[in-house]
Amino acid sequence: MKNPQPHLQAEARAYWRANLRLVGILLLVWFLVSYGAGILLRQWLDQWSVGGFKLGFWFAQQGAIYVFVVLIFIYVAGMNHLDRKYGYNDPES
């Protein structure tokens, strides 16, 4: 399993670092919309409204969920890009 060629190992490390960076950023947003806007800052955000929704309440019951879906699709696109860049994409079969 171990890759004997050192330059390929360096590639693998760079790929992994890029992966961790992407996941880190996305998880930060994940935390901010749910625990941040939906829970910790909810009461403060409730002073504003979007339509009939108080903003904090909207994040907790609607907004956070929309953002979650978007986050996963950004991750999918980002990782597909990294796979191509580092040559790890599986053959289309």
Binding site: M1, K2, N3, A12, Y15, W16, N19, V23, L26, L27, W30, S34, Y35, G38, I39, L40, R42, D46, V50, G51, G52, F53, K54, F57, W58, A60, Q61, Q62, A64, I65, Y66, F68, V69, L71, I72, F73, Y75, V76, M79, N80, D83, G87, Y88, N89, D90
Partner: protein
């Protein structure tokens, strides 16, 4: 046609569909049986995961719970969707690359130890059995209320159906029936929601209708009206909760992490062909789930407003037909305390005359809103689809834990594949029968334990899998110590504060809330137990030998997607 006839027609059509699919997708190998042959498309897997995940609790109970909890209900909405972000970003792609059949497979190999494997099997069985009993009960309840058969007969009918396609088709049969079940359940959930949204706000999109103005031309926002009504009756405003912020935070975290650690959800990602398919199907699964999960809070608001307006302060004699119908089931009770012949619904328990079970809100919602008979019947078919799909997914985890993880990998490593397949079918049959038994004779604690299954999954699997992928030097002793401490602590907290085991039984539980550690309820304690799991695992790891070289290479290998091997038992 009457509701009853419509219900029979829709339920029978949907059951014939499931059986037809099961016959078409029989399993011929263990690979078919455990992971549907490993070639499921991301779209099909996304739908199957969504149906697998959304149980009778999501379909029937959640909107009702939110209707009575208001803002506090957000813990379920965020908790049961946010977990998919963790699953997609941190677990699913790597477990797919690892390419085995079950979660204990991963734990056992990554931690090079049969102790770790057996601990993982026990955790998987504990989580899955408690969860599945609740589903069988849900099947029975839907049958009894809509088709007016006995609850126990309902459970038996459900058992036969699940037995048929789970035993015959294994994961392959389950996957394609779950795709059909997703379509049935989402249609059944959305149609009444759209009808009611138009009725109340004139907006056909429930997610927007919830924040829209009322259709009566008053220009008042629906949520403002509900806030006002709630406060008038002595409750806190609907959009403002009564749980402490720390507890809301802890419960949300426990549900998210628990979702990511549930074996029947994780195993779905073993069924796709490539790592990129695993990522994509996690995204699609959450999209399909989000359709229901963003509609449920809207249904909650519509139903709660409707309920208060229809019954509060009105004469009992003038109650609509659904009121007396649900009174007969005992899920709705009216006691005329002040004997004025009117229904008073208020917070103060000494004056409140109306007790409404959470489950009614979705089941009776179409009737409360006077929707056509076929829409009411649709809800029954949807509830059955939700319960059956989740039950089947759980039964597969139970059967593969026994036939694959215990018999094949621990006791009889030289078991030929044909025989393993028969063991798998036998284990599935046994699991259905046991689940059916608990469905007919529900131990009083089932409902409570289902909610806590997430805490157990959070406290056991999540840290072990996460460290196994992201920390190359994580060793076996640390992981096992973490899992055992985490799950024991969770069990202890649950027994003490949920069942009052050490303080004189269930009656004592209410008096113990002031003793909750850090003010955190048993439902939220999974997040504390998870942190303890991480801490113990890392501490023990620090003082014991690092994992062997070939395991560290394995970890490097699963981090790279290229050429994910087809799932295999070797």
């Amino acid at each position: 046609m009457s509701v009853q006839v419509w219900t029979y027609i829709l339920v029978i059509i949907s059951f014939l569909l499931y059986i037809g699919i099961a016959i078409w997708s029989r399993a011929s190998s263990t690979k078919d049986f455990y992971v549907a042959g490993g070639g499921v498309s991301p779209l099909a897997n996304g739908m199957a995961t969504a149906a697998d995940w959304m149980s009778a609790a999501s379909f029937i109970s959640m909107a009702g719970i939110i209707a009575f909890a208001g803002y506090d209900g957000s813990v379920y909405l965020m908790g049961w969707t946010g977990g998919y972000v963790l699953l997609a970003l941190l677990l699913a792609p790597y477990l797919r690359k690892f390419g085995k059949f079950t979660v204990p497979d991963f734990i056992g190999e990554r931690y090079y130890s049969s102790t770790a494997r057996i601990v993982a099997v026990l955790c998987a069985l504990l989580v899955s059995f408690t969860y599945v009993a609740g589903q069988m009960r849900g099947v029975g309840v839907v049958f009894s209320r809509f088709l007016e058969v006995d609850v126990n007969t309902g459970v038996v009918i459900g058992m036969v159906i699940v037995l048929f396609y789970a035993v015959l088709g294994g994961m392959k049969g389950i996957t394609y029936t779950q795709v059909a079940q997703y379509c049935v359940l989402i249609f059944a959930f959305m149609v009444p929601a759209i009808f009611i949204s138009i009725q109340m706000t004139g907006n056909p999109v429930p997610q927007l209708g919830m924040g829209d103005t009322l259709a009566d031309g008053s220009g008042t926002y629906l949520l403002d009206k509900l806030d006002g009504l709630s406060e008038e009756l002595g409750f806190t405003a609907y959009t403002d909760g009564s749980k402490s912020m720390a507890d809301v935070f802890a419960i949300t975290l426990a549900l998210m992490v628990g979702t990511a650690g549930l074996p029947h959800v994780i195993v779905r990602f073993f069924t796709v062909k490539r790592v990129r398919d695993a990522r994509k199907s996690a995204g699609l699964a959450l999209l399909f789930i989000a359709i229901l999960y963003t509609t449920a809070p809207a249904v909650a608001v519509f139903a709660k407003t409707n309920l208060i307006e229809t019954v509060n302060g009105r004469p009992y004699a003038e109650m609509p037909a659904w009121f007396t119908k649900w009174e007969a089931t005992g899920l709705l009770t009216f006691t005329d305390r002040n004997a004025d012949g009117m229904v008073q619904y208020v917070k103060d328990p000494a004056r409140n005359e109306l007790v409404v079970d959470n489950d009614i809100m979705v089941l009776a919602n179409p009737e409360i809103a006077n929707l056509p008979a076929w829409v009411i019947a649709l809800v029954a078919a949807g509830g059955l689809a939700a319960a059956l799909s989740t039950a089947a997914g759980l039964l597969l985890v139970i059967s593969s834990s026994i036939s694959h993880d215990l018999i094949k990998n621990v006791f009889k490593p030289d078991l030929p594949e044909r025989q393993e397949l028969w063991y798998a079918r036998g284990a599935a049959t046994l699991a259905v029968v046991v689940a059916g038994y608990f469905g007919i004779n529900p131990p009083g604690f089932v409902a409570a334990v289902v909610a806590l299954a997430f805490g157990l999954a959070a406290a056991s699997f999540f840290p072990a899998i996460l460290l196994g992928i992201f920390y190359k030097k994580m060793n076996s002793k640390g992981a096992v110590a973490g899992m055992i401490t985490g799950i024991s602590l969770m069990l202890f907290y649950m027994l003490k504060f949920k069942f009052g085991l050490f303080d004189g039984g269930k009656e004592a539980v209410a008096g113990l809330t002031s003793q909750w550690w850090f003010g955190i309820s048993p439902e939220g304690f999974g997040s504390v137990a998870m942190v303890v799991n991480f801490a113990v695992a890392l501490l023990v790891n620090r003082f014991t030998a690092p994992p062997p070289e070939h395991i560290q290479d394995l970890v490097e290998d699963i981090r790279i997607p290229g050429g994910a091997p087809p799932p295999s038992s070797h």
